[in-house]
Symmetry: D2
Subunit: 260 residues, 4 copies
């Protein structure tokens, strides 16, 4: 059983009647229901307003895949929680970043780039083209997908060249965007998936839901968590794989820890 947690800032749904009418229980509830339709996925939710944003260390330790939806409140996510999420990704937790999450602190930290883009909220048509139809994330969705109304995101999208360009979007207004991108950071797999603006019923779309389920399975790493992924252990002369003898001057005392 893959243990997925759907994180949502859960702000628009409380403040804006249009968003509330589409997602009365919050975007997180809609996404959790969608992925839990896969019998191999167990989905729970977490929101910004909960203690530790709903992501205490103990819970994150038992999370296999984290989905992240944020927009208006990126700046209020605490840095300590961001550090914790990033560390868990490095250890092997999968991360699926959704739509406006491109500017989430966790995504920017993992990409090392501005993650900026151009945008327009005009309810225009988006057609998502599948680049690799044999990829685990694109199974059972056909060769493309159409959304009658979505926010436009346009290139340039300031992210590193991805592991795989899985999908690219065409927009009615004339722009293009790399809508499905995969990354590996440490032991963790990351999938960025573009659609999902809060004023449209995107997460109620059956094909979008299939992609989310596929992505959870793809991002899941069954390997044991790599707890020491950020450590820099000293390998003393006596434990070198080949027999060597110390030469020259040493800055560090024997068994001293390295600098960080």
């Amino acid at each position: 059983m893959i243990r997925a947690v759907v994180w949502n800032e859960f702000v628009h749904e409380r403040e804006n009647p249009v968003v509330r009418s589409i997602y009365p229980d919050g975007i997180h509830a809609a996404i959790a229901a969608a992925i839990a339709a896969d019998a191999g996925i167990e989905a729970t939710t977490a929101t910004l307003d909960q203690p530790e944003h709903g992501l205490p260390a103990d819970r994150l330790k038992d999370t296999d895949v984290l989905l992240w939806w944020g927009h208006k409140a990126h700046g209020t996510v605490e840095d300590a929680i961001v550090d914790r999420v990033v560390q868990r990704v490095h250890e092997g937790m999968g991360l699926i970043v959704l739509h406006s999450g491109h500017f989430a602190k966790v995504f920017k930290r993992l990409m090392g780039t501005p993650c900026s883009l151009r945008w327009r909220e005009a309810g225009e048509r988006e057609r998502v083209w599948v680049i690799n139809r044999s990829h685990p994330i694109t199974q059972r969705i056909g060769d493309r997908l159409e959304l009658p109304s979505e926010e436009m995101y346009g290139e340039p999208f300031l992210v590193p060249e991805p592991l795989e360009t899985v999908m690219i979007s065409w927009f009615e207004g004339g722009e293009v965007f790399r809508s499905g991108l995969t990354y590996q950071r440490g032991a963790g797999r990351i999938f960025y998936f573009r659609p999902g603006h809060e004023t449209y019923p995107t997460y109620h779309d059956a094909t979008i839901q299939q992609i989310l389920r596929n992505a959870v399975r793809w991002a899941y790493n069954p390997a044991a968590a790599w707890h020491g992924v950020a450590e820099a252990p000293n390998v003393p002369v006596g434990r070198a794989p080949e027999k060597i003898t110390q030469k020259g001057a040493c800055l560090h005392e024997p068994d001293e820890e390295g600098y960080r």
Copy 2:
């Protein structure tokens, strides 16, 4: 003329007599002299103890390539300066990260990974193998390079898969390490180069100096700085490349800025 700045924390040379005997004027001075031997490169230096670590915004604006050597004092580099350096890399400034700079804040921020590794200070022999002898960074250095005494860095090196694996090191004690790696982040090119432990005269080696000169030329991006690289401009309906009409509800007011 390429304007290069060599940054050094400049701590070991003041505290440790062995390091001082090798680099009496600091590692930065040795590196600056080495790269300035290329008539097309103008080299100046900056150190941690200077105001704004020697990297005020005005100076960084006029820097084409920044070389970074740090070790003991990574933690004391101010976050505001780190932000500034990272932004300049995104805009197009080249960055060359040297040796223990693998744990520098600027490098970790740009990689999005722990940048951890295994290490041993035994003065052992290092042989750096050139993977692509036709790469601009490996010109005029032959097919490999030997250093009689260096600190060992061993895999796994927790960085993203690079744009290019340019060099890989063999160590006497039995380890291997990807010693020369290139990355692109925004408009900026990054080169990580492993050798350069402070207790050995690595930066006095003629081949190492040639690599540094090559790397400065490679990292230099003559394109105009991309000042807006981190901005997310709204493209209103009236300025869409194709004529479209507004559909559906809008969360944002016209001309409102996006959330970050």
Copy 3:
């Protein structure tokens, strides 16, 4: 059940008493037994001397993962069979290329590079370092692997920059080599794995066998075969996703096939 076929040229074992003493039934038999120890893998074998090299179209169609060992007889593999294997990889069949298979026609065709390297047959020690211990291919093998006697392969290895650098080898004689590399070509996953010289009992090593089982599972793509992967279908004006009208001159007649 994953249907794996182990292909071997099966020449050295017949001609050379040393090789025959190590692999009396052929390298293919040893590898097939090793991977069939995984209850989810069904392993059969094919050899050069069989009709169509043991790879008729019907059999290849029902092959999920092909393992390839060749050395002395690369040149006698028929181009028509090479075409067939390459097409199946593009359609989604996994391919694991072993050791001297670096010069196999199928591998060179899929890489588009010379696949050359440096070599020495001195029975020296090889230590294979795991770069990503959380990768599916490196499960249950620890952080490194030692082979007391192997042929040396040294960089530069003339292959494209891989999807992932999974392992790098250290050799007693002073060289390094990227020993485990992954690629995606069309719908197919490719893993190159270095060890396996015919005069040493490498494929009898338990850790090597574990890696082979892992690699078969990793290379397996459960998606339906992408039969039309090499076709370039015309999308007539009337079937364009957006309504458009024909403009300007046309070289092709309606419904004409494209040139190849």
Copy 4:
């Protein structure tokens, strides 16, 4: 001075009056004139009907960058010439593959994939978006480029994940395409550039011409040709970088050549 050769099959211009009216001296002549407007580029041409397709070994040896336009006659390009071009790319010659050259033998050989795509000849509008405006290939062209009438190429484009995704196209009919992709194969740099259908005056467009000039400069590798790039030299025990002694059985005689 960069020595560029523009290769064209030169068939449509002779057979089709529309194409001839646009390119009376052939597409190659138009492209050669465009790139020769850069004082640092010397441009000559070669065509299919010439002896050795205009690419004898002596000429190719002195070619820094080859541009390739082919369409109808891919199948008549001789394999020996293809081998020669591919070898020169591996040695360091730059290659720019234009439009329908996606199906050229030289491109398919260097990619190792089908290079297939979807297409439509409707004279529709193409908008090419620049993904990295700081890339050498995209200098002095702005953030996008519009062509009023072009052939549509649609994803999926069956090529390996590129080194860099430099441009992506939007088409009036609803498709998208990765229009500017870079690759490294051996010592050679490759740029695929999509626009350039023979029935439209694309190569007379000033922005397209600027991109071609930029691409020639980017693809040029000033390093000495890597003549032995495809060789696999033996490194005998006595010439190993570290002193080792022969262990175990040997298949090869001393100084014997390896198998291919």
